[in-house]
């Protein structure tokens, strides 16, 4: 598909993204949304308006001009929150609910697992763990964890 820029993006004083289409239509408060955040994060992005209507479609993020890419990356970085678990330090118990002390790529924190069914297996050996408050923690590759973390985690799988 033709990836000629069909729009331009800027950021206003309120920190919102402003999209101007080639026809000159201006939309304030545009949000980039990944269609496949886990399986194909850099493909198939949509720019949606404040009411959730789709304004533009981006097949490949890499094919976009630098400025657009940076703005989208910034906006996504500020919206996307899926900390990757680097290691599990301790768990409060092997029954659920269980509180885990974990180290993530975004710093140390706790998570409360409400039940084993909140651990979702991803294709490709990863796990997605949803905590009590709906925060999703990602383990991209189970085998990449250290031994202790794996052993702790194993009790829940």
């Amino acid at each position: 598909m033709n990836q000629a820029p069909e729009f331009s993006l800027t950021r206003d004083a309120f920190g919102r993204l402003v999209m101007t289409s080639v026809l000159g239509e201006v939309c304030v408060g545009v949000l980039p949304v990944r269609s496949f955040p886990i399986t194909a994060p850099n493909e198939a992005l949509a720019l949606v308006g404040p009411h959730g209507e789709e304004l533009a479609w981006i097949d490949q993020l890499d094919a976009q001009p630098e400025s657009v890419r940076t703005l989208i990356a910034e906006e996504l970085a500020a919206r996307e929150f899926m900390p990757e678990i680097v290691s599990i330090l301790s768990v409060s118990g092997f029954g659920t609910p269980s509180t885990w002390d974990i180290e993530t790529d975004r710093g140390a924190t706790h998570l409360t697992l409400r039940g084993e069914e909140y651990i979702r297996r991803l294709s490709g050996g990863g796990l997605l763990i949803t905590d009590r408050f709906g925060i999703q923690f990602l383990i991209p590759n189970l085998n990449a964890l250290d031994r202790q973390s794996r052993q702790l985690l194993d009790r829940f799988l």
């Binding site: 959730g52 996307e80 709906g134 999703q136």
Partner: protein
Amino acid sequence: MNRSTIPNAVDPPFKTGEEALAVLHTDLDERLCFGAGRVVVTGTRILALSPGDTVWRSWTLRASLRLERRDHAGVASLELLDLKGRLALWRYTLAQQDEAGRLVGVFERQSAPQSTVAFDDRLLDSAALDDALGADEEAQTPPSTWSLLRLGRFARPYRTELALGLLLTLATTAATMVPPYLTMPLMDEVLIPYQNGRPIDPDQVQGYLWGLLAAALLAWVLGWARTWLLARVSERIGADLRTAAFAHLQSLSLEYFGSKRTGDLIARIGNESDRICVFLSLHLLDFTNDVLMILMTAAILVSIDPKLALVTLVPLPFIAWTIHLVRDRLRHGFEKVDRNWGEINNVLTDTIPGIRVVKAFAQENREIARFRAANDRNLAVNDRVNRVWSLFSPTVTLMTELGLLVVWATGIWQVANDRITVGVLAAFLAYIGRFYIRLDSMSRIVSLTQKAAAGAKRIFDILDHVSSVPDPVSPVACGDQKGRLTGHIQIRGIGFRYGHRAVIRGVDLDIAPGQMIGLVGHSGSGKSTLVNLICRFHDVSEGAILVDGVDIRRYALSDYRRNIGLVLQEPFLFFGTIAENIAYGCPQATRTEIVKAARAARAHEFILRLPHGYDSVVGERGQALSGGERQRISIARALLIDPRVLILDEATSSVDTTTEIEIQQALENLIRGRTTIAVAHRLSTLRRADRLVVLDRGVVVEEGGHDELMRRDGAYRKLYDAQARQAANEAALESAAAAVAAAASVAAASAAVATAAAVSEPTIAALHQAAHLTGAVLAAASESASAPTAATFNTAASQPQKSLPEEVR
């Protein structure tokens, strides 16, 4: 709970007399890394400390300042804005959501004092409610590993039987201890003297042999009584456990069922309770027996010869150690096996109800593959468990053999030195044989205990789950003496989220008793969720729903729901007769009442056409009923309990328009005199509504009568136009069909075709008239078949329009 890892080292730089009115502990920084910060609102300022910072920033409160809260995927942000732009942005996880809500509330009260009353009211309300519900989030602590001990709760009613069982066990074990003891005198006083040339004394031998027989018979009788008694008790404990788990399951909220899979729940309540039952009746009994036997044997051995007894007991610690070593690993293994078993069940419960889809898309092989994958995982887990397990048993046997070897060696040496007699050694060997056999079987109990414990844990997981829709500790009496409410519903600023998705935001509604409200909106706009909140299937996250002026969370759940009649899109009929299904909400209803309800629901006639009338069996494998028929039965069901509040959740969405008309007529009877909330996708079904509420993405966007909303030319108008166009097309097709049906009269046919033509190419304005109500149009269209004049149609279709000019503002 504060997720912060950095202690709050810096105190806010308050001026004198300034104090914090609300604090938000932010737990993320701007790049969404975990880190503790704070936002504080005082009487005059907002102060904020960013994560990792030591310097506070501050803004003086002024009218142009705004705080905005939003959230996405578990992360919320709070923005401080003025007219020119964004001044600051803080981020936090939803764990801090309540604090943030309070902070924004306080902030708004500071900058707009006129709204104080409403806010105070709301804050007080929620605080008082937490007390009333005894809500304590931290109460959800993990259950202890010794889940089996918790079965004591279920054993308590059978105390006497259990005590008696224990006594019998003691007696049985004692009886089995006698024979080896008698080998001692038999050896020393009879056999060995005979070898040394002394004749055998028949009386003496007879005495011993009778003793042996008596002991064996006694052990047999006692063992029988014991096993029978304890098996009975354990079977009852298992049954109680199963019922308790099911009863508790019924009390859990819809949210719980949404998050669990059916297969898993079935496995838990069915298989696990059975496993526990078998464990209690067989294995635990054996175990007690074993322990008693070991203790008695040890005591007897020590009493005969302490030194040899000591040697005999040497392998015991080793075996204990082996058991301990394997125990943990086995338990995890068995837990895994159980979980996988649930997984297999899940595949089954997914596939069997969805079999039509599977077959239609020819995906049988894919489902087989999915099942095989689950099964393979089960196999892999089992293999791992078996690897440990298979090593375990032979090891214990080896230890036993080694133990016997030690006893033989020591015994022979002792006999050679004349320290003990041959009889003593023989008795020791007889005892020790049993002793070690018991140890071996005791080691087996490890795996069984672990299995049962894992099962118990999984059942207690259900039993421990506190309903997210708890019954209040001291409920408020619901309505009048008969428990009937008047049906005045007030919805005050409610919000609700599913996980981290906000589904309902800041909805306010007031529904007078007897009023009918239509909830309108695109699918996913939160209509059904709002209805679920009113039924209290879920509890609101913010705000409150009041019925007759009392928060619904203060009513006892069952009392409250007794006042609610619910008609769903997919009517669910239980396996049973039609009469039973109609009387579901009120099992003591008389036959007259049932027939009356069925009549009012327009179900009476079709029920009479069934071969067994009201006694026809419906539900799974029962009489096949059409969607409309089932729906009318469910309407009769709602009618029978005579609810004050009636909820129609897409009651007519899954049926065709002709059936819809029938159902509509049934509904008319149901609606009369009740507070009604109707959710409908098809706007035509809401013609009787006093007021329409248009929802969009969880927010009320419009509210008012049909005509008013049409004039406003907003969201409702858009929805309406879209449907009108579709309805007109359908109507055109249907009236064309009607024309064919009425072809006997040429005049009739031409009139109908004219009708069809008139409908198929009108202006939008004409469409509003023509398709004001699908039902009306259809009624008109079918009328045009019998009395087909264009005039008939036009009158019917333009009726609603007459009211228009009167109401123009």
